[in-house]
Amino acid sequence: MLLIHCPCCGVERPEIEFRYGGEAHIARPMQPADLDDHQWAEFLYMRTNPKGVMAERWRHVHGCGRFFNALRDTVSDRFIAVYKTGEPRPDSATASGEGAR
């Protein structure tokens, strides 16, 4: 079971307190009507699914209830960084936040 550092609570908690929220940094278009069918399908369904570092959303659903983002290595499952929603994606090479443990 993963240990996940919640950047909102400032504590490390077991994975069962959290729920996975899919890939991060996929903003809902401001004007969906302006997108053609292909662009809309890209937004809806297409994800990068990387082997390696991935930015993803988590929610501390059984804690503070907040969504936040994390960089996680999908090969090793290692968390590289956690950061709050709205903050830019950290550089994974230099990230050494508390989530990096």
């Binding site: 079971m1 240990l3 729920r19 969906p32 009507a33 399908a41 809806l44 499952d77 929603t85």
Partner: protein
């Protein structure tokens, strides 16, 4: 067999305390401290089971958890066995005997000695590698009727117990600085070093007694005293430290992410009469800062023809049985080896009075000191010599000898013996390192994979990383313990030095099939004993195109038994590498996975069984309904009253009566399980505008609206009635099962997309109990109880909400709404007062000729009106238009979740399935929910169905069965006849609009 094979002295068993147990109906005697394997061997019994595929007789091969053959069923007592309470597939080498234990051998019928299934052995050409994929593929229709039943009857291991598991299983979480897996010399040195530095230590070991190899390495001395005494002193020091947890009989079965370690502790299996307050087994979930793996090495079998016959045993196992358990594994013992350590077994057995007839070493360059020692013991030695086969089937009677000369072998006669101890050298036990995702490095000089750099906070110590020699292993354990403790605590750690003597380093090893002079097409040399995989099978797999070890493994099943190939992998790999003419590291090694050895379901489930499997949610009205004799159904975690049968009524009669009563007078229904969310804030209306398809901004205060919620893909995900309580406050209801999902969906958009909106969401599901009162007399039923709300239709029309009080001051939110098509109310009150209100309303309902109704009646009544249930009519691929609810879409809204998707071509295509009603032509047949609907009564095979029945009930109001269905192009088919094919013939149905009662809706406004 009447003569005991017990030595006259030595061993760690309690010779004063005999233990009676039953094996295959026969009472046998062992000593306290025996494992089942050692006790059977003391009684001269090697034959303990039949193999999985060929039903070949099999004996005890090892003395540890890697045992592939000696799998048995164990019951605690004769009474437990009679009650069907037993545990199958336990390894006899791990079962500690106690008085009255009842053991059955497995995989044989009618008896161990005479087994019908042994015919499989004669049919072995049928069962070669990949036989599942070949033999049983044709003809196709034979699979279900012939092949599968045959395979199931013939193969398989133990029998599952017939009675529910009577035992209790416990669960514990723990944290520590250093977890040490294994209590051999490396593990003890590591644990001792870490403990002395002040670290919190957990030491887990598989067996009942700690010490590992030190318990049978009788000549070894550590710090000037016998090794076993040193073990006792170390354990005493560890046990006396309250920062140390010693876990005997505990398997480290799983190494998970971030040093999360799963341990299975067998608490009471070894006790005849355990304290009933103790669990049978305990699951430990440990978060360890650092882990030391001291899991030792496992001796490797020699792959020669008939190497699986009872009496053939690993050399070190023979040494363990002799030294630790005081049992000689035979009357005339031969040793076949390619390494030094097996010679020690011969010497120790000889020293205990055993008869060692010969040591046969494949090597020619054997250490002269060993030969000298053998001469001193008067043991015949043959070098450059191997075993090429055995005589005897249920017990060996002798071995064939072969003289090795280069790649060829010539017969060198035979040798009479009833036990053969074999050794192909040692395979470092890297399972847990591999589970922890550590890479393995190939060391050609040692013929072994050793742990590479760890990925997690762990390190290997001792022979599991290829260290040999007691002094070296102790030093390596101390080093690992110090490193781990320092990394975990930051403290400086003293590394103790241990002196050791009397335990020699072992050299020499052999990998792969042993050469022989036999007819290769006729003999079988086993690689994986438990799965009955032979050297020939591995070669065949290579010939048939399997070039990766991952493919060879799956094709032959080698390494897929409960030992995960700890005995067989290296031999299989070597045979494959030879056949492929490729180096071993290029052929690869399969990954070891959790669990290390099988773990019982009980341990993994712990207390999550029966009533504790899932939480149960009950409403404030639950006890009342139960007292009324209601039947309940599970809806998500809730218990909901399903129907209220009167005496003599079945479900059908009760539901018809309840439905009729609601439509004719009034019914009362517990709707408390509905999800409720309070949506509050200056932007609450704007938020709902974006989340639901409907418009909200113009909804007046005190008004209700049905809300439809889509996911972003445009499909219906939930629905419910929403009331505007104030300008900035909405009372949202959701489906019973959908409440958490809806709240998470709302929070997602609020937090991550529209963080600028000032809105707060609060789950209020358990803050409001909901009493629904429905029917023409609903107002009459509640009016006397309402304090301060004008119930007239003019003041409070259909789809409105008022805040007020009932019964002299109980606060309520009163909804006028309907899910039945009748006029009705839903009274929301605090759960603490709900029962009081319910009782009062029910008294009125009863006085008016009404009744309580359950969820089944609710379902029927709504189906009569064509109201959908999300999850019943919809399945995650249904749009509002599909269910005729385009009216719920706010046409002027620029955007809402799912809006853009509704304009995708697929979602606007013609021919989509649409909600319709179905009436059976005969007016009597009740359709099955889920049944397919077709155009033809007897469609040709592979004709796609037009759709399926989603709801089907007997309708009291319609006087006939009714059904809802999702049918391709359904709205254009009103009046058409379609068919519902069933096993007894198709049922003809007419497609009608999904509305069976009061099409004008006039009853709602009464």
């Amino acid at each position: 067999m009447t003569l005991s094979f017990r030595t006259s002295k030595g061993g760690r068993i309690d010779r004063a305390k005999s233990v009676k147990f039953i094996f295959d109906g026969k009472t046998l005697v062992g000593q306290a401290g025996d494992t089942l394997a050692s006790a059977l061997l003391a009684n001269g019994i090697h034959l303990v089971g039949r193999s999985f595929k060929y039903h070949r007789p099999r004996g005890i091969l090892t003395a540890g958890s890697e045992e592939p053959n000696a799998l048995v069923g164990v019951a605690k007592s004769a009474a437990a066995a009679a009650a069907g309470q037993s545990v199958p597939n336990l390894r006899a080498t791990q079962v500690e005997i106690h008085e009255g234990m009842v053991i059955v051998s497995q995989n044989r019928w009618p008896s161990l000695g005479f087994d019908i299934g042994a015919v499989n052995d004669r049919l072995s050409p049928l069962f070669v590698a990949g036989f599942y994929y070949k033999t049983f593929m044709w003809p196709k229709s034979f699979w279900n009727r012939v092949y599968e039943p045959f395979i199931r009857a013939a193969a398989g291991l133990g029998k599952a117990p017939t009675a529910p598991d009577p035992d209790r299983y416990a669960n514990r979480y723990a944290h520590c600085d250093v977890l040490v897996a294994g209590s051999g010399p490396a593990g003890l040195a590591a644990a001792l070093t870490a403990t002395r530095s002040g670290a919190r230590v957990i030491l887990a070991y598989e067996q009942g007694e700690p010490g590992g190899s030190l318990l049978h390495d009788v000549g070894a001395q550590i710090d000037g005293r016998p090794a076993a005494e040193w073990v006792s002193a170390v354990i005493a020091e560890l046990a006396g430290n309250d920062r140390v947890t010693l876990l005997p009989r505990t398997t480290v079965f799983g190494y998970f992410n971030q040093n999360f370690i799963g341990l299975a502790e067998r608490v009471t299996d070894h006790l005849a009469d355990p304290d009933p307050s103790l669990p049978r087994e305990r699951l430990w979930q440990v978060r360890a800062r650092q882990v030391v793996l001291a899991t030792g090495a496992i001796e490797r079998p020699l792959v020669f023809p008939e190497n699986d016959r009872p009496g053939v045993m690993m050399a070190e196992a023979g040494r363990i049985y002799a030294n630790r358990f005081g049992v000689l594994p035979g009357r005339a013992i031969a040793v076949a080896t390619s390494c030094d350590s097996a010679w020690r077994a011969a010497f120790d057995i000889k020293a205990l009075g055993g008869n060692v007839v010969a040591i046969l070493d494949m090597r020619t360059d054997v250490d002269p000191a060993l030969k000298e020692k053998a001469r001193a013991h008067s043991i015949r030695v043959e070098t450059g010599c191997t075993v090429t086969g055995v005589k005897g089937t249920k017990r060996i009677e002798g071995v064939r000898l072969g003289r090795i000369s280069g790649d060829t072998v010539s017969s060198a006669g035979s040798l009479a013996c009833d036990c053969l101890l074999m050794s192909g050298g040692w395979t470092p036990n890297v399972s847990l390192h591999s589970q922890a995702r550590g890479k393995l490095d190939w060391h050609a000089d040692k013929g072994a994979f050793l742990p590479g750099d760890p990925v997690q906070a762990q390190r290997s110590a001792g022979s599991c990383r290829g260290i040999d020699g007691l002094a070296q292993v102790l030093a390596d354990g101390a080093r690992a313990g110090a490193e781990a403790a320092q990394a975990a605590t930051g403290n400086a750690v003293d590394v103790p030095a241990f002196s050791a003597s009397g335990s020699e380093v072992s050299s020499g090893w052999w990998l792969g099939a042993v050469p022989h002079d036999r007819d290769a097409s006729r003999v079988r040399a086993f690689v994986d004993f438990q799965n009955d995989v032979t050297a020939k099978d591995v070669k065949l797999a290579v010939r048939e195109g399997m070039h990766s070890i991952e493919h060879i493994k799956r094709y032959t099943t080698t390494g897929m038994a409960t030992d995960q190939g700890r005995l067989s992998n290296m031999n299989a790999l070597s045979i494959a590498s030879t056949a492929l003419a490729n180096e071993i590291p290029q052929v690869g090694l399969t990954t070891f996975r959790q669990p290390y050895t099988p773990v019982t379901f009980g341990t993994l489930a712990t207390t999550s069984r029966g009533d504790l499997f899932d939480p149960v949610r009950r409403t404030a009205i639950h006890d009342w309904a139960a007292a009324q004799g209601a039947a309940f159904e599970d809806v998500s975690l809730w218990k909901r009253a399903w129907y209220f049968p009167k005496s003599g009524e079945d479900m059908h009669a009760a539901v018809l009566r309840e439905c009729r009563t609601v439509r004719e007078s009034v019914g009362i229904f517990d709707a408390s399980t509905l999800g409720k969310i309070e949506v509050v804030g200056p932007d609450a209306a704007e938020f709902l505008e974006r989340i639901y398809t409907n418009p909200w901004k113009k909804l007046g205060i005190g008004r209700l609206r049905y809300g439809l919620m889509l996911n972003e893909a445009g499909f219906i995900m939930d629905d419910g009635v929403v009331g505007r309580i104030a300008e900035d406050r909405f009372h949202v209801t959701t489906t019973t099962g959908g409440a958490p999902r809806v709240l998470a969906h709302m929070e997602d958009y609020l937090q991550t997309e529209w963080a600028d909106l000032k809105v707060w969401l609060t789950s209020t599901t358990e803050q409001w109990a909901v009493i629904a009162v429905q029917g023409p007399k609903a107002r009459e039923a509640i009016a006397p109880l309402v304090d301060d709300i004008d119930l007239s239709t003019e003041a409070m029309p259909h789809m409105s909400v008022r805040q007020g009080h009932v019964m002299g001051g109980i606060p309520c939110r009163l909804f006028r709404m309907s899910f039945t098509g009748e006029a009705g109310y839903e009274i929301n009150v605090p759960p603490s007062r709900a029962r009081q209100v319910w009782d009062a309303v029910f008294a009125n309902v009863e006085r008016l000729g009404g009744c309580a109704y359950g969820t089944e009646t609710m379902h029927v009544l709504r189906a009569e009106k064509g109201y959908i249930i999300v999850g019943q009519e919809t399945d995650g691929t249904v749009t509002p238009d599909d269910v005729g609810m385009s009216w719920a879409i706010g046409k002027n809204k620029p955007d809402f979740v799912g809006k853009r998707s509704l304009a995708r071509p697929d979602l606007m295509a013609t021919g989509r399935k649409q909600l319709v009603g179905l009436l059976t032509k005969d007016g009597k047949a009740l359709l099955e929910e889920g049944a397919q609907v077709t155009a033809e009564a007897d469609p040709a095979p592979r004709t796609p169905a037009l759709g399926h029945v989603t709801s089907s009930y007997m309708s009291a109001a319609a006087g006939r069965p009714i059904a809802l269905a999702m049918i391709a192009n359904g709205r254009a088919r009103h009046g058409e006849t379609l068919h519902v094919p069933m096993p007894n013939g198709a049922i003809a149905v007419e497609v009608v609009p999904p509305l069976f009662v009061d099409p004008e809706g006039s009853r709602l406004n009464a």
